[in-house]
Structures are given as C-alpha cells and as structure tokens.
Symmetry: C2
Subunit: 138 residues, 2 copies
C-alpha cells in the first residue's frame, strides 16, 4: 500500500511528505468521498488546516482527486480513476449521496448520453443521485 501511495506522488512530480501520504491513505481507505472537514477530523490535528486546503488543491490540479458536485454547498473529493491525467479528467461516472448516512459513493455505472440544444459543447457530465444507499435502505 505504501508503494502505491508513493508511486502516485512520484508519478505526479510531487514530493513525498507525511501529510500527502496520510491524505492519500484516507482516500484509499474511505468508503466514498471526503470533505475537507472529514480529513481534518481523521487527521486528528496532526497537520494544519491550511495544509489540507493546499494539498487538496494540488491533488485536484494533478488529477489525483476530483471534486464532486453536491446540492448543498459542501465540497467533496474522491480519487480519480487511473486514466485521469492532469487537466484531462475522465470522471464521467455517477455519484450517489446517501441522505441517511451521508456517505458519497462513486459508482462505476457509466453516464448515459445527454441530449443538448444546438451549439452546446459538452466537456464534462456529472450525475449526482441521492436517496438511500444499500446499507440504509433496510
């Protein structure tokens, strides 16, 4: 596991630091997406709030993680698929937000094609479904 994390950072020309390794581990262990606040709690104050902001921003720029649109104002992040290169996101998968437990899942179901009016050029499609997840629907 440590190797995987290390590789991701090196591949993206980022220095391997404690905070980056930790934050990447959080994402790998997480069931779903994480918000800034989640990471802050998980870290147990072991590194600065500002470092989290900067690390997340760096990871987004490098295409390691991507943001997930949510209907409330919260910003969540999740790991990108391997095909993601810097600036070339292919994250047209579906996100599911559970209203009960709050978990955000990245589903592998592919995104259905969308009909748009003349002249509209599509660059990215996000599908955000909310409701109850498998664990909470019983």
């Amino acid at each position: 596991m440590a190797d995987v994390i290390n590789d991701i950072l090196k591949r993206n020309q980022l220095s391997v630091t404690d905070s980056r390794k930790k934050i990447l581990e959080f994402f790998h262990h997480a069931d779903g997406a994480l918000a800034h606040a989640d990471i802050e709690k998980m870290s147990g104050e072991s590194f600065d709030r500002v470092t989290i902001y900067r690390t997340l921003q760096t990871f987004v720029e490098k295409g390691i993680i991507h943001t997930i649109p949510t209907a409330d104002n919260s910003v969540k992040y999740a790991l990108c698929k391997d095909e993601c290169a810097a600036g070339h996101h292919h994250d047209d998968h579906i996100h599911f937000l559970c209203d009960d437990c709050g978990t955000t899942y990245c589903l592998d179901t592919h995104v259905p094609a969308v009909q748009l009016p003349q002249g509209f050029v599509v660059k990215r499609t996000d599908v955000v479904v909310s409701g109850k997840c498998g664990k909470c629907s019983n």
Copy 2:
C-alpha cells in the same frame, strides 16, 4: 408580471414584501441560475445581505427555487417548475454550466434513467453538464 410574482408568494403563505418581490423578479428575468452574490449585485445594496440569505432559504423550503449542484464550491439557485410543492421537488432536469460566460442554464431535456446497484433507492437525480453554451461555442 407583478401578478405572477404576487401569486407565487400568496400561494406559499408568504407576506408580500419588497425584497421578496425583487428577488423573485431577478429569477424571472435571469437567463439562468443565480448565486447569492449575483443577487447582491443586482439589488444594488437596496436590501441587506442577510435578507438575501433568509429569502433564498425560505424560497427553497417552499419549493419556489432549488439549489443546483456545482463542482466548485459555489451555490446557485434557480426557479422550480410549477409542479414543485414544498418538500416535493420534481427538478430532475438538466443543468448546464458554461465554462466561458459562467451562465447556468436549466434545460428542459429530461434526465435519463440511471442503473444503480441492488438496494439503492433513488430520491433525486441531478445532471450537471459543463462545457460551452450556444453563445460561447462560436
């Protein structure tokens, strides 16, 4: 027009006040969705920032407007269709964000059905497409 605005407020048991009328007009005239900051600018300081927060929240609760999920941290709002009653949103339409001009469109194209894993219950589906709108793609 004034009648329409008035009706919306009365139908939802809200007192008809200047700020509410103005904000509803903004939405009716707007090409797309509006953020809190947009409304603040459009209002030209004629009413308080806090009033805007509270008015938007009230309108969302009553089902007059709805939030639009965006990948950045911004929160945008748009008018709901007539069928929307308080707490019963039927806004499964598609939102398009133009990367160039920043306008958010609510498209009437209906949302394609989504395949989900066993046990997942869908309550709401948001599709957010980004790219270039008709005006900016030339």
